[in-house]
């Protein structure tokens, strides 16, 4: 039975591959340029994510926030009891992390702000910023960094970003307003939400299972 189900899955994938490879005729694509321009963006993907299927994106943000809250609640009662020595901290690692965080932050901001003009957007920018925080946490230690960046306030910033983006996007969608400023604001808010969510997950796992 195990092998039969495996073969069925592979057969289904092969059928899909046949469909994609051009053996079967494919539908003609509509030109994405008018769609992008009608939303005030040059990147058609941004126009789809934050325009055409905005409700889908809003619920995706909600699902993300709910899973982060689930991780936070689930790991609340699990604390690492034994004393774990943190990784040996070298001046080279600390200096590199300090030097790298600035460019990473600026690049994330650039990716978020220019997401409607070219490749980029709020989600990749949030992943970039979260990775920057991970580098810093590896150099400084998670608990120390958490105290330095005032994590409880950050969590309220995350909830605030979610509330603002839900209100902004729903309001603009209902009013029918479109334009570049909306894309910039939405991408920045999504960046904040994704980066803080990634940091919260990292910190909770590290504090429940030992130091990074």
């Amino acid at each position: 039975m195990k092998w039969l189900s495996g073969l069925a899955v592979l057969g289904l994938m092969a059928l899909l591959a046949l469909g994609v490879s051009g053996i079967f005729p494919r539908l003609e694509l509509p030109d994405p340029e008018p769609i992008a321009l009608s939303w005030g963006a040059r990147n058609a993907v941004a126009a789809i994510v934050l325009g055409v299927r905005l409700w889908d994106t809003l619920f995706e943000i909600l699902i993300y926030a709910m899973t982060i809250a689930g991780v936070k609640l689930g790991l609340r009662f699990l604390r690492w009891e034994r004393e774990v020595p943190p990784l040996a901290e070298t001046p080279l690692l600390r200096r590199s992390a300090d030097l790298l965080l600035g460019p990473v932050f600026v690049f994330a901001l650039y990716v978020a702000v220019s997401g409607h003009l070219g490749p980029g957007g709020g989600f990749p920018a949030g992943a970039l910023l979260g990775t920057g925080l991970l580098i810093l946490a590896m150099a400084k230690g998670v608990e120390r960094l958490s105290a330095e960046i005032h994590e409880p306030s950050l969590e309220w910033v995350e909830y605030g970003a979610i509330a603002v983006i839900l209100g902004l996007a729903s309001g603009l969608l209902l009013l029918g307003q479109r334009g570049a400023s909306y894309f910039v604001a939405a991408n920045l808010l999504i960046m904040v939400e994704v980066a803080i969510g990634a940091w919260v997950v990292l910190h909770r796992f590290a504090s429940s299972r030992g130091e990074v």
Binding site: K2, S5, G6, V9, L10, M13, A14, L16, A17, V20, S21, L29, D31, P32, E33, A36, L37, R42, N43, A44, V45, A47, I48, V49, R53, D56, T57, E60, I63, Y64, T67, I68, G70, V71, G74, L75, L78, G118, P119, G121, F123, V194, G197, A198, V201, F205, S208, R209
Partner: protein
């Protein structure tokens, strides 16, 4: 990468991921397999957007057909939700390991090994 090569790689990744998901008994391995399969399906969606000779779906990059922007927009959702659900699944694995001291699904499913109230 050519579209067909990306497709072949994505199918291989999904196959390997599903193999780990079905055959492996350790929960961490199952989650890893699920993640590899999710990576394969993401690559599949990206390959789906590929058209030979097409340009990126950005206005002002020249004439000619553009790549399909819809699968690329779907991929964004898939990546973010994949990360979040993996984190939540790992929390459940931590809980099970804490209470049952095992990650083996066969041992987890044996009722006589559950703690009696």
């Amino acid at each position: 990468m050519d579209g067909l090569a990306a497709l072949a790689l994505s199918i291989a990744l999904v196959g390997v991921g599903f193999w780990a998901l079905i055959v492996r008994r350790n929960l961490i391995w199952k989650l890893l397999g699920l993640n590899v399969a999710a990576g394969g399906s993401i690559l599949f969606l990206v390959a789906l957007a590929y058209r030979p000779g097409a340009r990126p779906a950005i206005v002002g990059l020249g004439p000619g057909p553009a790549a399909d922007p819809l699968p690329q927009a779907l991929v964004l959702t898939a990546i973010v939700i994949d990360f979040a659900t993996l984190a939540l699944a790992l929390v459940y694995v931590i809980f099970l390991t804490e209470h049952r001291h095992t990650q083996d699904v066969h041992r987890l499913e044996r009722e006589e090994e559950w703690p009696q109230p």
